[in-house]
Subunit: 499 residues, 2 copies
């Protein structure tokens, strides 16, 4: 029999989540359907609802409920965990003074505007003072939140709980070394696949139908979710039974939409996979961005760029595009999907180069927050590292250090979760193949039931009951590491490029 | 220089409106894009946000601000009006005790479920007890709100401010007599137009493009709004610059979508037409449902079912559907659009019969609220009146008194606004033709700029500065009456059916 306090906490959190769902819908709509002139009002609506949600969650009644429930030994294990997780969020939400939150929010808005302009004009100087302010405020935030070791750890905590700079450094430096080396060897092999067959027109509707077909095959429930189009694909959820993904269609390259849909579908399956009994509670939430990204990247790259996958789906795609693919073998499709080509833009990066983009950003962020780098010196360092890791000359800052939105949003500490997602995914796959040795045959038949069942049980249904590193350890028996991912990459691309 | 109190009131109301916009978006999404399994969570989200909005608006700080501002003689005329209108809403919102609001809300939910079931099973008895409760609560609500004359006036006030049962009775009884008579004469004429040409397939996309074309021609700003599809067409707004309409496409009859789009476009133009300086304030709102409906019906019927309109748009439609319309003259299209045919369903009614459906409901509602009719006697009375007004035998209650959702929603007093919309529209048109004698030539050229300019200045931009009857009087020089509408109907249909 749950106590009155516990019921009151659930009710309060449920209502906060209702407001957050409305915020989610306002944001989703902004990206997919809002008419352009609606933007200023939408900004106001979002600000009002965010303030309401913050106030509802950080009210002292919540603190009092948590104080009383913290000592309640009659609670079940789940209830105890729920109280602990709520306490964790409550403490972090209340540790920053309202004046600081307000100031940070205002500076972020200014920085975002300055960044849009600076990027358009290829003028880093136009963004430099704003980024300096963001870095200063991020350092202050680290001090207010508290940390051990590097101050960057306080920022990481927002995106990847429990992860530290000290843990990431050796992992990332090994990745940087071996992935750069791999990219060099691939370039030296001179075995770039011929993808001239891609240069034609690919019908929008046929692409759309193909992405819906794949989402269905993956097990994504379209009665409890939907797909729409947006400029930048994303996943959002308003409830366990309303999880939405978006994709982006390029009529010159069908693999943009296909890969975007599989990636977001991976995120969506995580959100659709929480326990029904955790619905509208804090336990029915993703534990971290890295774990979230492990789900999207597992589906997108480890499964969706695998040979068995394309042995099956090249045939399906050929039915949709008989003319375009009549002289293209399944093997050629597989090789085309896995073409390695260093790029200036992170968003264009392939499996072999993606982490290098992230590591570069991580190193710059840590140096900024630890005080070893001035904002004014970012462009030079960016160019040097792009040359070192990817062998590329950066022609200008617009295609260099101004390319990402994250810093203007104040999201310092976010980038590493992209790479952690890749690493966790490879670790999960290694274990998955032990538990489900027929995985590749199943994937080769377009059958993902075994895979999804495993992910549901091992990852999705855990919700917030375990922290990211704890989850990885419990599932795989190992700490987060680069080993599985590097083994995977070197084996796959060694074969593909005959290294 | 506005006072601090005035600025505080604007800020408070602005935030309430932000929350209401989020409620609007949640409701819009529910009708157009929400996946089916998302319904229960959506219900919770709507309940939470409605409670927040109500509490924000009825807080005692608002009352204190209004008290102080009510005596502030330094305010401008607009500011004074804004305070008065806010006071009006505040008083009405605070007059019902929270326990009553809660009870009514619960009973409405139960009544809605019972109605859906009862309608499906054609079993009035299954809905009767719930409707009795709704009627009882509506009577209690009337007592709590206060009224002069009929208690029904207190309910009318929610939808059509200032309108009374005493004013409506003679207007409606004249309408009933003359419209029934007109319908009888049309039936007796034996001149029903041949609409066999409609019985073919009408492409969805071509219909969609045609409705968008008309919306654009009307002056609806698609950068500040959009059209989607829904089962029941509606208009909603989240801001002056985000006003959305929906339509419904029937591939067996293109005029359903066309008329729905023009109707909702008329509502949408009203919402897009408030003054920019009234944005996010209570003055930038529709004054009543009747005035709102006057805008939709003016565009849909008086303009969109006129001969000049179809002299122009039959050509445009023929370009979209060359096969379907190759042997159909513009005159035949015009006659087809205006076919008169008594129907059991209000939603299928044409211009000549629509008000008769409304008057029947009005008479039943008034008798229920004044205590002259028992709920159990509704089915019998419904059948008698359908026979009297429309000459139809009602085969069952599902197609009779169970057809509308309104009573299950507790919306007693709403129906009359549909007919008032027709009457106001005809009164506006009469005046408009004096001010803009070239109207029909312009409409015949697909040019609505003069019409829209007139509506903007005379109706839209007034917002809530005038009450409905006051607006009608100020624009037309006459009180609300049935005269203009009956003249219009008898002239138009007299010609069409050669009476």
């Amino acid at each position: 029999m749950p106590s009155e306090d516990y019921a009151a906490l659930l009710e309060r959190i449920g209502r906060v989540k209702d407001v957050n769902s409305a915020i989610g819908l306002l944001s989703w709509d902004q990206e997919v359907y809002m008419p352009p002139k609606g933007a200023p009002a939408r900004g106001q609506q979002l600000a009002t609802l965010s303030a309401i949600s913050h106030r509802m969650f950080t009210g002292k009644e919540v603190g009092e409920l948590l104080d009383r429930l913290g000592g309640d030994t009659s609670l079940s294990a789940d209830a105890t965990k729920l109280v602990e997780e709520t306490r964790y969020d409550y403490d972090r939400a209340t540790r920053l003074p309202e004046s600081f939150v307000q100031k940070f929010s205002e500076e972020r808005s200014k920085a975002y505007e300055a960044w849009v302009r600076a990027k358009g004009e290829n003028n880093f100087e136009g963004f430099r003072p704003n980024l300096e302010t963001i870095v200063d405020l991020s350092k202050q935030k680290a001090d207010l939140m508290g940390y051990e070791g590097s101050p960057y750890n306080a920022l990481l905590e927002d995106y990847e709980r429990g992860m530290t700079t000290e843990q990431l450094r050796p992992i990332f430096s090994e990745l940087a070394e071996r992935q750069s080396n791999l990219v060099e060897r691939i370039a030296a092999s001179g075995r770039a696949p011929d993808t001239a067959w891609l240069d034609t027109e690919w019908d929008r509707d046929a692409q759309w139908d193909f992405t819906i077909r794949i989402l269905r095959d993956m097990g994504y429930d379209l009665e409890a979710g939907r797909q729409d189009e947006s400029v930048h694909p994303f996943t959002t959820d308003f409830d366990l039974y309303d999880v939405r993904v978006t994709t982006r269609i390029n009529t010159n390259n069908p693999f943009e939409a296909i890969m975007a849909s599989i990636h977001e579908g991976g995120h969506g399956l995580y959100e659709q996979g929480f326990l029904a009994s955790d619905q509208r509670t804090i336990l029915g939430e993703a534990i971290s961005l890295g774990i979230h990204e492990s789900q999207s990247r597992l589906w997108e790259t480890l499964i969706g760029q695998s040979r068995p996958f394309w042995e099956h789906y090249a045939e399906v795609l050929r039915q949709a595009f008989p003319e375009q693919l009549k002289n293209v073998s399944n093997d050629a499709v597989y090789r085309g999907v896995n073409k390695v080509q260093p790029t200036l833009r992170r968003l264009d990066a392939d499996e072999c180069t993606y982490n290098l983009h992230i590591i570069l950003r991580f190193e710059i962020e840590v140096a900024l927050i630890e005080g070893d780098l001035k904002v004014a010196d970012i462009p030079g360092l960016w160019k040097a590292k792009m040359k070192q890791y990817l062998g590329l000359d950066v022609p200008d800052d617009a295609r260099g250090c101004l390319q990402d939105i994250h810093w203007s949003h104040g999201s310092i500490g976010y980038f590493p979760t992209y790479t952690l997602g890749n690493l966790y995914a490879a670790q999960f796959l290694e274990k998955l193949l032990e538990d489900l040795p027929t995985l590749w045959e199943e994937v080769g038949a377009g059958n993902f039931a075994g895979l999804l069942t495993w992910l549901r049980a091992k990852v999705h249904q855990v919700g917030r009951r375990k922290q990211p590193a704890e989850l990885v350890r419990d599932v795989t028996g190992k700490d987060p590491s680069s080993e599985a991912y590097l083994d995977y990459l070197e084996k796959k691309y060694g074969e593909l490029y005959d290294l």
